[in-house]
């Protein structure tokens, strides 16, 4: 009963709250070359809209690259020199919106909202004037100039596939041994649980690495997703994530009684939360606080961030070490718990 | 004597593998017919064909007087089937199971109530009417499954290894039921791995590699092969 009614209701609630195409409290930075009343008004309008939070007022334009690479600031608004003056004298001024398009969906939303605020200001501004003034906003999608949607999907798909397939492989493999009865003999032998687990993980690790290679390859060749950063680092991170997923599969096998349950948990139970809460499609920033908190326990969230950073932004370990550490920690935790739970007897 | 099963030159092939190789045999009304053979000899294939669950590759097959190619539905209405894995729902009560199976065969209302009472009385299980099947001992489940399979008074009942695993007394009590049923005119077609149960049958056939290698009464077979037990007949054939 719980499953029959509970799951549709829960899914509806989650989907309903998550699929919002609105944003709120997105961190931005502003580089104001003019610092006059017009820019001040505009900045005020942006800040009080509720959509954005001004994180930093930049002093120079040189650090855009670095700032966006850090991954916290999603948009930088640049006001050109002598903004108000240009408006008065030439009737037009320029604003540049530089968005972090490693998450194309979010970038699109952010720039759309910003442009909306600016246009609103222009309309109000022109109410009292004879001659219409213009503010041109030029949008730059950093890391993804052509706004390819494959940039959105390929990293996420990589994470999803690696996660599900790896967890599925190990969890099913072990529960199958329980079902055919061969596990009984292994348990009754001098083998240590760790040897049994390792014996299960290694072959799938090798297979998964090949899998990862293929996915990166296809992503790069067919979908033209660049590998701006170090390929070696990308591979290592992928191996780490895969190991984590395999260990998750081991853990599932200590909980699942048979293959059916293992498959259910690995595919169905994991799939939706991973898709929804990892930032794969729907930006995490959009979600209600509680889901944002939940997303912190989703390993895929960290991996997607890492892939986007390496592939699209081309950054190195110094920026992703935190996410890497989290994944590493999760892996160790899963191994420890699994070994502990792995019963040396049948009950 | 009326013939309940008539099989002539039955052949069943799965791709290039011949599971049943030109079988010919008959079963008379009221007989207890034992269908023996090692796993993989082709027994299950034959039973499925006789029950109308699978179509032969070629050959004539008539069950309960009906042709199994053209009158499959009539065949199904006139046979009963019980397998080792039972067929009763564990989370329904005895009464509910009877109601369910009665419904399948079109036995409803007063007639069903009457049959239900008679069945339970015969098995001495009136007090278990409202008990869940899952809560009953294995032997009781077996006897119930058997009786329910007979609810619609079929002409013949097929039993697929019905006594697997139970203790010697329960097994014999089950065979008491089989005897009773046959004495009432219902033909019983049974497969078993217990060689002593082969002795309870009027006639037995032994299958090996898709063919029938022996068909006669247990006594005659023992004389024919010059041995004392059916087990030894079996060994002689296999070797």
């Amino acid at each position: 009963m719980l499953i029959l009614f509970g799951i549709p209701i829960t899914q509806l609630l989650i989907f309903g709250t998550v699929i919002k195409n609105e944003i709120s409290d997105v961190p931005i930075a502003i580089y104001d070359e003019s610092k006059d009343e017009v820019t001040a008004e505009l900045i005020n309008k942006v800040r009080s809209s509720g959509y954005f939070i001004l994180d930093e007022n930049l002093e120079s334009i040189n650090s855009i690259d670095q700032i966006l690479k850090k991954g916290y600031i999603r948009e930088i608004i640049v006001f050109e020199n002598n903004f108000a003056q240009k408006l008065l004298k030439e009737g037009r001024a320029n604003i540049q919106l530089i968005a972090d398009a490693s998450d194309p969906n979010l970038a699109r939303l952010v720039t759309t909202y910003t442009t909306g605020i600016i246009n609103d200001y222009v309309v109000k501004m022109n109410l009292n004037k004879g001659m219409p003034l213009q503010i041109q906003s030029e949008v730059r999608m950093f890391f993804n100039e052509e706004m390819k949607s494959s940039y959105q999907f390929v990293p996420g798909t990589m994470a999803l596939i690696l996660m599900l397939v790896s967890a599925l492989m190990t969890s099913v493999s072990i529960t199958r041994e329980k079902e055919t009865g061969t596990m009984e003999i292994l348990l009754a032998s001098p083998l240590h649980p760790f040897q049994i687990i390792a014996g299960k993980v290694f072959p799938y690790l090798l297979l998964s690495i090949i899998n990862a290679f293929v996915i990166i390859f296809i992503g790069n060749l067919v979908f033209r997703v660049p590998i701006a950063g170090s390929f070696g680092l990308l591979l290592l991170e992928t191996i780490l994530f895969t190991t984590m997923a395999l260990c998750l599969g081991i853990f599932i096998s200590t909980v699942a009684k048979n293959q059916m349950v293992a498959m259910f948990i690995s595919l169905i139970a994991l799939m939706l939360p991973t898709i929804i809460l990892s930032g794969f499609i729907f930006p995490i920033e959009n979600m209600p606080k509680i889901l944002q908190v939940l997303s912190y326990i989703m390993p895929a969230r960290y991996f997607i961030e890492i892939i986007r950073s390496i592939m699209l932004k081309g950054i190195g370990i110094q920026y992703v070490w935190q996410e890497t550490a989290v994944l590493g920690g999760m892996t160790l935790l899963l191994i420890a718990v699994s070994v502990k739970r792995f019963k040396i007897r049948l009950e | 004597m009326e013939k309940i099963i008539e099989v002539k030159n039955l052949v069943k092939k799965f791709d290039s593998f011949t599971a049943n190789d030109n079988l010919t045999f008959e079963v008379k009304k009221g007989e207890i017919f034992g269908f023996l053979g090692a796993n993989g000899a082709g027994k299950t294939t034959t039973i499925r064909i006789l029950c109308g669950l699978s179509a032969p590759t070629s050959g004539d097959v008539r069950v309960a007087g009906y042709d199994i190619y053209k009158e499959q539905e009539k065949v199904k209405q006139n046979i009963g089937y019980m397998s080792q894995k039972f067929s009763l729902y564990e989370d329904l009560t005895v009464s509910e199971n009877i109601r369910f199976y009665g419904g399948i065969y079109g036995i409803k209302g007063e007639e069903r109530k009457r049959k239900e009472t008679a069945l339970l009385k015969n098995l001495e299980m009136e007090h278990a009417r409202n008990k869940l099947i899952g809560s009953l001992p294995l032997g009781w489940k077996q006897k119930l499954a058997f009786s329910v399979a007979l609810l619609h008074d079929p002409k013949i009942i097929f039993l697929d290894e019905p006594t697997g695993g139970v203790d010697p007394i329960t097994r014999r009590r089950f065979w008491d039921l089989i005897y009773e049923t046959a004495a009432n005119g219902t033909t019983v077609f049974v497969t078993t791995h217990y060689m002593d149960e082969a002795e309870y049958c009027d006639r037995i056939s032994i299958m090996d590699a898709g063919k029938i290698e022996a068909l006669d009464s247990p006594t005659n077979l023992k004389i024919q092969f010059g041995v004392k037990t059916i087990n030894e007949v079996f060994v002689s054939i296999a070797r």
């Binding site: 003999i185 | 065979w175 060994v235």
Partner: protein, 300 residues
């Protein structure tokens, strides 16, 4: 004493599986645990194999406690669980190699021990285990359990679901193994296999009904036993049950076994009774009981 079981009990949730079982098995014995499904055979063997913990009681295997010294015990015990746990998609050869490596040995090292058995399936060594017949799976599973030269072999229903010929061959193989001083503990639901063992324990509903050599057990049978046959078997059963001196009446193949208290009746009386009931072709003989007769008697 190779195996000492002292008042062992085990329950699953509230269902008792073993109730204060006590048994002893000597070194080099071929010991049979005889009983139907649900009697507790698999539970007991799993406890002996250190795969389950008993709720209470004590078990020593080769002098070692199954609970505390399970690691050591697992070094010298061989196990063949029900359903012959083999890797279906590995070949015969691969299965053997795998289990050899699990126990830290190789096929060559202990080949002598399994040679007789393995010879019979060697022609199929490249075939996948899943494609073997029941009898061949049996032999392979047995070989795998012997690959590390265990001192004790635990076999859980190795002959269930296998054809009569393979069953016979299997017991011949066990007898041969016994010559090599391996203690063998086998469980089976087939009563007739009891006579092939040195000693047996009859088990039903988690309790031991009797333990001894098959002969000693049957000699303890306290009733008279008559073997009867007639033209109409079913009518014979019904009529014999109405006989006032009959203790129990059960079908045994083509005969009926009737038990009665000692000297309460005789063959002639029975024949007269049956003739009065219009039976024909009556054959009556007083016989010695078999294990199954004993089992049925003890069950009541």
């Amino acid at each position: 004493m190779m195996i000492k079981i002292n008042r062992v009990s085990k329950s699953y949730s509230k269902t008792p599986a073993l109730k204060e079982i006590s048994l002893e098995v000597s070194k080099g014995e071929l010991f049979g645990l005889i009983g139907p499904d649900g009697a507790g055979k698999t539970t007991l063997i799993r406890i002996l194999m250190t795969l389950l913990l008993p709720d209470s009681g004590e078990i020593l295997v080769n002098g070692m406690d199954v609970v505390k010294e399970y690691k050591k015990i697992r070094q010298f015990t061989g196990y063949m669980p029900g359903r012959f746990s083999l890797y279906q998609d590995l070949t015969v050869e691969e299965n053997l190699e795998f289990f050899a490596s699990v126990f830290g040995t190789t096929i060559e090292e202990n080949y002598e021990l399994i040679a007789d058995i393995y010879h019979q399936i060697e022609p199929f060594k490249k075939r996948r285990a899943g494609n073997l017949s029941g009898g061949m799976k049996q032999k392979l599973a047995l070989s795998c359990s012997l690959i590390h030269q265990p001192r004790i072999l635990f076999l859980d229903e190795p002959t269930t679901g296998v054809d009569a010929v393979s069953r016979q061959e299997f017991w011949e193989m066990l007898k041969n193994l016994q010559q090599k001083e391996i203690t063998i503990f086998v469980s089976t639901p087939y009563m007739d296999e009891a006579t092939l063992c040195d000693r047996v324990a009859l088990i039903q509903n988690g309790q031991i009904l009797d333990v001894d050599t098959p002969n000693a057990i049957t000699s303890r049978f306290s009733s008279d036993l008559y073997r009867i046959s007639a033209e109409n078997i079913y009518k014979l059963i019904l009529d014999l049950r109405k006989y006032n001196k009959a203790e129990s009446v059960f079908a045994f193949g083509q005969f009926i076994h009737l038990t009665s208290t000692p000297d309460s009746t005789n063959a002639k009386e029975l024949e007269n009774y049956l003739q009065a009931m219009k039976h024909t072709n009556i054959k009556i003989k007083k016989i010695m009981p078999g294990i199954e007769d004993v089992f049925i008697n003890l069950m009541k």
